[in-house]
């Protein structure tokens, strides 16, 4: 039988696949890291090419457009300064009240900006590659966010880059609650997505008595110890009773447009 090259090749591939699939995690994970190190120069080249293209684009941008954008940013900056003043007052008040109530003070976030340098080549996962790694202080399970809301968590850390699993990936489950009512806590799991309006996820295991409304904001609950409490995840689109009425589940329009992410922030430990 092995004289037939087609059958022999098929058997060889099947044996190779069986061997690779049964690799223990302690071996396959470093093997992936070592193989992935070969792509670091390519990521660097890609980054340099994009910067060059950006520089060329900037040189071609008309002055009137730049002035208009500068004025808009000035106005936005002034608005944000006012909001920061208000927020700092609230922070001081919050810290004082927490101290009076005997609660531990909240540790401020240590944020590290990172650029998105790649995405998962397959369509089955929602992962990102970012240009911050172990040398920048990034660790596994560090939360990743943008000013719009939660992106996900770091799942693999290499020396110069990391892999982020986004909300909606099968391996990224988030404990979340409804901001308005504060009573309904559930788990975010994957679901279908709307390609034109961003992604969707399902918030499941919500209490059957929870009063849900379309448009309610969903934030992280802080349970589980990975994500800090209060990061915006998205808004409720619709909901239904699940599993013969035992609990409710709602579809959530994610706050972050996952297809258009270019820069993210990592919360360092």
């Amino acid at each position: 039988m092995l004289k037939r090259p087609f059958v022999a090749a098929l058997i060889a591939i099947a044996v190779l696949a069986a061997g690779l699939w049964n690799l223990p995690l302690w071996f396959s994970s470093p093997a992936k890291s070592i193989l992935g190190a070969g792509f670091v120069p390519l990521f660097g080249l890609d980054h340099a090419g994009r910067e060059l293209a950006d520089a060329a684009g900037n040189a071609l941008t008309p002055r009137s457009a730049l002035v208009q954008e500068r004025d808009q940013l000035r106005r936005e900056n002034q608005t944000l300064r006012v909001l920061v003043q208000e927020a700092s007052d609230l922070r001081i008040e919050n810290e004082r009240l927490r101290a009076q109530a005997g609660f531990a003070a909240r540790a401020p976030w240590k944020l590290r900006p990172a650029q998105v340098i790649g995405r998962d080549p397959s369509n089955w996962w929602r992962t990102l590659h970012i240009d911050a790694g172990a040398t920048d202080g990034v660790r596994v399970n560090c939360p990743v966010l943008t000013p719009q809301g939660l992106v996900g968590r770091v799942s693999q850390v290499h020396a110069q880059r990391s892999v982020v699993r986004m909300v909606g990936d099968p391996e990224c489950r988030v404990s979340a609650l409804i901001q308005e009512t504060r009573e309904a806590t559930g788990i975010l799991i994957p679901t279908d997505e709307l390609s034109d309006r961003g992604g969707l996820a399902t918030l499941t295991f919500l209490s059957r008595h929870a009063a849900l409304k379309a448009g309610q904001q969903v934030i992280t609950s802080g349970q589980g110890g990975v994500y800090p409490k209060g990061i915006l995840v998205g808004r409720i689109v619709d909901w239904r009773l699940a599993d013969q009425g035992l609990y409710q589940e709602a579809r959530i329009q994610l706050a972050v447009r996952q297809h258009q992410l270019e820069e993210v922030w990592v919360i360092l430990p």
Binding site: A17, K32, T191
Partner: protein, 213 residues
């Protein structure tokens, strides 16, 4: 096929895997990443020998898995199977015809992602894993369009149609890319390999002997 050509095609496979990860324009426009590896494997099956084609499947599959959250090695068998099937039928086909390349790209683009998904779910099932594409997501993936009315609001039919919806896009993308990949491999072959020596037109038995009348 000389060794330099084979090596170049394998490196091209690694580059294609990187390009799939780095270029996100198709994903932004269509919501689906176009598969570059399946058309390359089919083109290699049509334009190169079996060793080169299997090397493309192994190098490309391992590179894809390295850059992806997929378990290492899971993408190799589907790519190799598609390439072997195409290569086996090669004597019965006209590989230079665009229609043949297009149809093979379409069929391969349907088969390879389907095998990938099924093997990922099979792997998750047999390894007892609860996470990678396993129970909830896999069940939801196979469950086509559950629908339920809730307070006069209905979930759209697309709900639950999670992963399989990417497959038709990938198949059409593969169909259009296979002729391009085939042309690329042909050009690469012409640039690297020694040119074929054509038989000489001079034949001594046809030589006209000139002499005095």
């Amino acid at each position: 096929m000389n060794r330099i050509y084979t090596l170049c095609v394998w490196l091209l496979a690694v580059g294609m895997a990187f390009a799939t990860a780095a270029l996100d324009l198709p994903r932004r426009m269509l919501g689906t990443q176009i598969d570059l590896m399946t058309p390359l494997v089919i083109a290699a099956a049509l334009a190169a020998d079996r060793r080169t084609m299997i090397g493309v499947a192994v190098a490309g599959g391992l590179s894809m898995d390295t850059l992806s959250a997929t378990p290492l090695g899971l993408s190799v068998p589907p790519l190799a199977a598609v390439g072997l099937l195409a290569h086996r039928q090669l004597p019965l086909m006209l590989p230079d015809q665009k229609a043949v390349q297009w149809l093979l790209g379409l069929a391969g683009g349907l088969l390879a992602p389907t095998l990938s998904l099924l093997s990922a779910q099979g792997w998750a099932y047999f390894s007892g894993s609860t996470d990678p594409l396993a129970a909830p997501s896999a069940a939801a993936a196979i469950e086509w369009g559950w629908i339920e009315a809730v307070e006069d609001r209905e979930l759209p039919l697309t709900a639950g149609w999670v992963l399989w919806r990417h497959v038709p896009f990938m198949a059409v993308g593969s169909a259009f890319l296979t002729p391009l990949m085939y042309g690329l491999l042909r050009r690469l072959g012409r640039a690297i390999e020694y040119p074929l020596v054509k038989p000489p037109y001079y034949r001594p038995d046809r030589e006209m002997k000139r002499g005095r009348m």
